[in-house]
Amino acid sequence: MRPQEYQQLVQQNLPPRPVLKNTLWAFVVGGLICTVGQVILSLVPFFEPSKTGSAAITLAAMILIGSLLTGFGVYDELAEVGGAGAAIPITGFANTVTAAAMEYRREGYLQGMGAKMLIIASPVITYGILVSFIVALIKSLILGVL
């Protein structure tokens, strides 16, 4: 058998991905996380009426929830079921930061946790900034702000 034939054979014999089941679970888990966010978003205005303020508090609360669930070893289990449903919400972002912080703390607070806390979150931050910069630059030029 030639390697190319074998590679094709591997593709044909991979265990089937439960696409429908995964998608459904991602929908449910992601949806529920957003619903929790909505509950917070609806309650916050009682003591923080400004729109930006309540959105900020909601996000902070979601990040706290994500970090706590990570600390107690729950979030990785949630992700086994929910997949993207656990990764896409901001709680997933918080999870990557907390998970990396806990993991690399063993190499010290400075060179371990300090250096590597954002190691997983970094692509999101980096490309978030790069893409936003290009978008904002183009829009500012078009609007004649600059």
Binding site: G37, Q38, S42, I88, I90, A101, Y127, S140
Partner: protein, 116 residues
């Protein structure tokens, strides 16, 4: 009603991401970066804010909200201060997410260890 919309919209974004993960060779990192970038572009087109108006937390909580917030901050500060606002505006809104993640994570790291 707003809860249902948040559930459906947030769930749909995640389901779409999962579908891409399961049917293509892209990794979770690819999909996350794509979601953030999409949020940034939609904000630039002026679409993300009406979307968030409609979906509430369903648009705020997914990381696309992170991308849109960076663009929003940059645009706002560019308007106020000119070109350097594009840089200073980066963390105007998202600084919160970043700072909260770092502070909470550090606090938890003091008490908890990875398990299994």
């Amino acid at each position: 009603m707003q809860y249902l919309i948040a559930f459906l919209v947030g769930g749909a974004i995640c389901a779409l991401a999962q579908l891409i993960l399961d049917t293509t060779k892209y990794t979770p990192t690819h999909v996350l970066v794509a979601t953030v970038s999409l949020g940034a572009v939609l904000q630039g087109l002026g679409l993300y804010e009406p979307f968030q108006e409609f979906a509430g937390a369903g648009a705020l909580v997914p990381v696309s909200g992170f991308g849109s917030s960076i663009t929003k901050g940059m645009l706002a500060e560019a308007k106020s201060f000119g070109w350097y606002g594009l840089f200073t505006g980066t963390f105007e809104i998202t600084g919160l997410g970043l700072a909260a993640s770092i502070v909470f994570s550090t606090a938890i790291t003091l008490f908890r260890k990875p398990q299994r």
